[in-house]
């Protein structure tokens, strides 16, 4: 059972454009939703995270939008740059108890000049 569904699988965006990646979750007990960025040969690194008591969180060019009723959340990368080219994973977990992250399958983003 895939608890976190991510789309699209791959994405090509022009430099300066907006990259949008979507995720949907099933477990209503999840209350922590991070996005991780992974470059080839590296481990995932936390990019930005949101809790369900807010609908949006922005950090620089990165924004998470959260829709609790639809059980969906998305990552928006504004003014996308070639250096943003990486694989992005959404994830979900419960805040309490140090529970492990459940990851989506990832989106490979390519930003072309």
């Amino acid at each position: 059972q895939q608890q976190v569904k991510q789309s699209p699988q791959s994405l090509i965006v022009q430099k300066g454009g907006i990259s949008i990646i979507n995720c949907a979750y099933e477990n209503t007990a999840f209350d922590y939703f991070p996005w991780y960025q992974q470059f080839p040969g590296k481990g995932p690194a936390l990019l930005i995270a949101i809790r369900p008591d807010v609908s949006e969180k922005k950090e620089g060019r990165f924004t998470i939008s959260f829709n609790k009723s639809a059980k969906q959340f998305s990552l928006h990368i504004m003014d996308s740059q070639p250096g943003d080219s990486a694989t992005y994973f959404c994830a979900a977990s419960k805040r309490s108890g140090n529970t492990p992250l459940v990851f989506g399958k990832g989106t490979r983003l390519s930003v072309i000049a």
Binding site: P34, K42, G43, P44, A49, S93, N98
Partner: protein, 113 residues
């Protein structure tokens, strides 16, 4: 601050051979996770430690996989014997108690021939 250290970075073995991976978490992080990341997929939990206690190992294939975290610091993940399907990247992550941010190491890429 040093990040999560893993070794080796790469390992190529013949099937049926044993293999071991080592992880040194961030100093002071009580929680340690081992994840497996198959090609083109998100990481999936194998085992979680709180200090030296394995508190979630339901996804660990216990017939061939074993793990230990002596003294609640470094951890070792072992596969014996390895199978072709074990080819993947094995990621170690650590987290301090009460935080939600998991810090990942660079992973060990295992190829089983």
């Amino acid at each position: 601050e040093a990040g999560v250290v893993q070794s080796p970075r790469y390992k190529i073995i013949e099937k049926k051979q044993p293999v071991a991976f080592w992880c040194n978490p961030i100093s002071g992080h009580n929680t340690l996770y081992w994840y497996r990341q198959n090609l083109g997929q998100g990481p999936e939990l194998l085992i979680r430690y709180e200090n030296e206690e394995a508190v979630d190992d339901s996804q660990l294939p216990k017939d061939r996989f074993s793990a230990e975290r002596l003294k609640g610091v470094d951890s070792t993940l072992k596969i014996q014997p390895a199978e072709l399907g074990d080819s993947a990247v094995y990621l170690c992550a650590s987290m301090s108690w009460g935080s939600n941010e998991q810090f990942f190491g660079p992973g060990t890429r295992l190829t089983v021939l």
